[in-house]
Amino acid sequence: MTAGRSRARSAVRHRDGAAKAAPSRARRTRLRHSTQWAAWGFIAPVVGYLAVFYAYPLYRNIDLSIRSYTVASFITGDAPYAGLANYSDIIHSSTFAPALINTAIFVFASIALQFTIGLALAVFFFRKFPLSGSLRALFLIPWLLPLLVSASTWSWMLNSDSGIVNALLNALSVGPVDWLTSPSWSLASVLIANIWIGIPFNLVIMYSGLQSISTDVFEAAAIDGASGWQRFWRITFPLLRPVSAITLLLGFIYTLKVFDIIWIMTRGGPATSSTTLAIWSYQLGFGSLLPDFSSAAAVGNVLIIIAVIFALIYIRVRSRLEAI
């Protein structure tokens, strides 16, 4: 902006006195160059940071995935170019379909429930009542605990033989459920834990979104005789749309890459029943004694592509919302 303005100013001066322009033009060009250099100087740290910490790792990850790396060529660095062979291998792998389906179920069920419960709690706590502050603080606990702690606790609670959940079910004379060791329950178990961990995030964001809505609107609606239900669906929900959109996008990206909870609770098992793309990528790269870096990088890139697609959808939705 600065450069543009100074150019405009110098153009005006040119018209005033073309005769004496010759010596001062050189000085001005020098000046302009030096401001440009200064501008680049200011940008350089950010550009350098982005290049070193984002662009280069991404480039390396793509490079890893389109070459056929073995442990030997990882050392010598002369892995042969493989094109899309690694991608075709992972897509044709028997783990791909279950991992993709598990990822989809895990992400969409997590977000849907986290968001709904988070929003419901935000609306609930928005009407101040005695002790609402302390209760709201209690709901933040899952967020404050290290993931290792909460995932280990869940895995103890859901233990088939000595877990408290099965003990409770037993007291209610319901048969024990093999939460973590049955292929039909393991995904549900890690989902429950992940939803529990994700609720506080949604609660906090939606609560702050509610605070930004002017109370006049609610008062006006109440005077017009709108019921609580109508006020929620016709005022609160539409006005929360921008906040909801960003919450959903952030939730999507967080959930897509969830790794720790699943790894600690089930290690993606039994068999592939709770394996998501993130878990699969780790298993390929670091889970066995013989790392398969190229396939792991390919799975990682698939995850990145999915995240980018949804980010683009978000941008389109947002621009459409702004147009309204």
Partner: protein, 347 residues
């Protein structure tokens, strides 16, 4: 000369060693878990004993096996550990089972039935979907006479069916599917279990709780071959090959009989040499059963499997998981594992 020691978590060590090799700044001496030796050898970052001058003469062949690839030796073992069957004498006595009678699978299963009949729990092991799961399954797999090159042999199916039947009949808890060796040990420590398959490293804790140990039986009698655990001293490739002589001297010193006995007693390992084992047993007679267990142990990467082992092992633990959790029958899980392993190796 000063020696700088850098410690890493086992799971991070392989990646760390590979990265160091890639950057050309490998340590002069690297102590790694024995199945990793084949991976690092494949990467070409370890020297052979012919290059670095380490002598391996006194070391038991079966323990050295994990460091031998295509006739070349890539390091010396610091010590070995392996798996055996810990038992709780109080429970066995109450159930009327004599530990010495457990010499084959049917005797063991009969003992588990008796234990269950008195309201106690049978056996716990680690059937998790990581390398630990394969490690724990191998004594039964090899004990049935199966070979890692044919995962779907009738012997292999018999071994896996033994485990799944125990789970189905309630002789083993369902939690073995997600138990690591540590959590499985914690179950055994509750004092409710008659048997626990676990490693040499638990022997001090076992003595504390009054547990004793027998060798894992093979299907038709006799001790089953068990996999060797334990670490290897290796000397990574350096630009300056003159350093090998000094490195070798340090390793020889650390693995001399008197030093290695102290180290192995501290780390709950069995010494890799006969002289070392004798010194250990004369100091502590209870180690005799572990010395005989290590005597029948074999390397996972042995039989010249090398880096094929990690691929096979991954399919093996996947098959074990499928069968344990009931996602597939033993036979079909192992067939799928075999075809996946074949595809993985040929890639």
């Amino acid at each position: 000369m000063t020696i700088k020691r850098t410690a890493y978590d086992t799971t991070a060590l392989t990646t760390q060693a590979l990265l160091a090799g890639q950057q050309g700044n490998s340590p002069n001496i690297l102590l790694v878990d024995n199945p990793v030796v084949s991976t690092l050898t494949r990467a070409g970052i370890l020297t052979t004993t012919a290059q670095n001058g380490l002598s391996t003469g006194a070391i038991a062949q079966n323990i050295l096996g994990a460091g031998v690839m295509d006739g070349k030796t890539y390091g010396v073992p610091i010590g070995a550990n392996t798996l055996a069957l810990y038992y709780n004498p109080k429970i066995l006595q109450a159930a009327g089972v004599s530990p010495s009678s457990i010499t084959n699978w049917s005797a063991l299963t009969a003992a588990l039935a008796k234990v269950k009949a008195i309201g106690k729990k049978g056996i716990t092991f680690s059937g998790i979907n990581t390398e630990e799961g394969s490690f724990q399954f191998l004594p039964w797999f090899w004990g049935a006479g199966a070979n890692l090159t044919t995962l779907d042999s009738p012997q292999a199916i018999a071994a896996l069916t033994l485990w799944t039947t125990w789970i189905k009949d309630g002789y083993a808890p369902n939690s073995v599917i997600q138990d690591t060796q540590t959590t499985s040990w914690q179950e055994f420590q509750t004092g409710d279990f008659a048997f626990g398959e676990n490693g040499t490293w638990q022997k001090a804790l076992a003595a504390q709780m009054g547990a004793d140990v027998i060798q894992i039986p093979a299907e038709n009698g006799g001790p089953a071959p068990v996999p060797t655990g334990g670490e290897f001293f290796t000397i990574p490739v350096q630009k300056d090959t003159a350093t090998y002589a000094t490195s070798a001297k340090i390793v020889q010193c650390l693995s001399s009989t008197s030093n290695i006995v102290t180290t192995d007693n501290t780390l709950n390992y069995i010494a890799p040499t006969q002289a070392g084992q004798q010194a250990q047993v004369s100091a502590d007679g209870t180690l005799q059963s572990w010395v005989s267990a290590v005597g029948v142990a074999k390397a996972r990467t042995g039989d010249n499997l090398g880096t094929k082992y990690p691929i096979i092992s991954q399919q093996l633990w996947t098959a074990v998981q499928k069968a344990e959790s009931g996602a597939a029958s033993s036979a079909s899980a192992l067939q799928a594992a075999q075809s996946a392993a074949t595809a993985g190796i040929s890639k």
